[in-house]
Symmetry: C2
Subunit: 174 residues, 2 copies
DNA sequence: TCTTGTCAACTAACCGGTTGGTTGCCAAGG
DNA sequence: CCTTGGCAACCAACCGGTTAGTTGACAAGA
């Protein structure tokens, strides 16, 4: 047997991602996560403290992955929406995780890091609006939320497509 | 004690609405529903069959309430979006219920009645597009989904407002 | 030997669902 | 009008199985 703390944590996080995405927080089973990771349930409590803390860790990782994979391009918001769509399509667990988080935990309990990243993006859009590169008939924060939620829309209804997302944002910033 | 089947079912449905909206399907507790309704747990199984069937019944009722309260006005989609927003604001449990349903049950398990109502609305928008009363740069079904999800957006982020919903739809159909 | 990652076994609480029996309602018979 | 018997509505207690979380012993590496 190999004893590798980091490898065990990583396998636990992978298994937890699948379990939480499939069943949510209340529906997830700690035993299933341990079994899927090929290790014992006690490791979860040793490394992460509790089921909820494990969930938070998993969600945090997924969110930072999305942020890394999809930098904001204020001058090309339709393209940004399209790339966000691609990221979500490649990483389908995140939207389920985030959905469960929003429903099961309080509406807004965003981490400091996320609030900061959000503020940075709003500032970038504001600047683009000042320079006239982006129309100013929506506020910068409004616009960011609009674009983000537009790209999510495609995963909330069966008929929506990447093309629809891009075209909608094009119209919104026209 | 009053013995009234319909009254008991109604109290059970009310209690279940609150419980499911608060905790989802997996997180809801049958005992809590019975306690809140002031009757015995066995009644749930006598009248509704199971926890899941009770959830389905509650969701069905809420959806039909929304449909009744908010008829589609194809010639005034921004107004429709605003009125949909108002309905959701007045009936905050539905969006939580629908969210849990989408996550916990399969993506696709819409009822026949709902699919029918959807098709009717799509047809109404198509007609308005043929008459030139609504721009045709989006398909009718795309447009309906866009408008519906726009009105939901306002409840997914803290900063969105009714005004933003209406303005966004205005821009989309301009 | 001593530290530390690992796990089987355990527990106490909980959960969805069932059951056997009780109670209020109402209508038919007297 | 008053019994009374049948039945629908109701409930306390229970059941088998499951759950998150704990712990004491062991084994691997230093």
């Amino acid at each position: 047997m190999v004893r590798d703390k980091e490898a065990t944590k990583s396998k636990l996080l992978d298994a937890a991602l699948a379990e939480f995405a499939a069943h949510g927080i209340a529906g997830a089973r700690v035993d299933r996560i341990a079994a899927k990771a090929g290790c014992n349930k006690a490791m979860i409590y040793a490394y992460f403290g509790s089921k909820e803390e494990l969930f938070d860790e998993v969600l945090k990782i997924q969110i930072s992955l999305v942020h890394e994979a999809t930098p904001l391009t204020p001058d090309d918001l339709p393209g940004f929406a399209g790339r966000l769509y691609d990221t979500y399509a490649r990483q389908p667990e995140l939207l389920r995780l985030a959905g469960y988080h929003r429903l099961e935990s309080g509406f807004e309990e965003i981490s400091k890091a996320e609030a900061e990243a959000h503020a940075l993006k709003v500032a970038a859009i504001e600047e683009a609006q000042r320079d006239g590169r982006v129309p100013a008939d929506f506020g910068a924060e409004e616009l960011l939320n609009l674009v983000v939620h537009m790209s999510i829309l495609a995963f909330s209804t069966p008929i929506a497509s990447r093309d629809l997302v891009v075209r909608s944002v094009e119209k919104l910033v026209s």
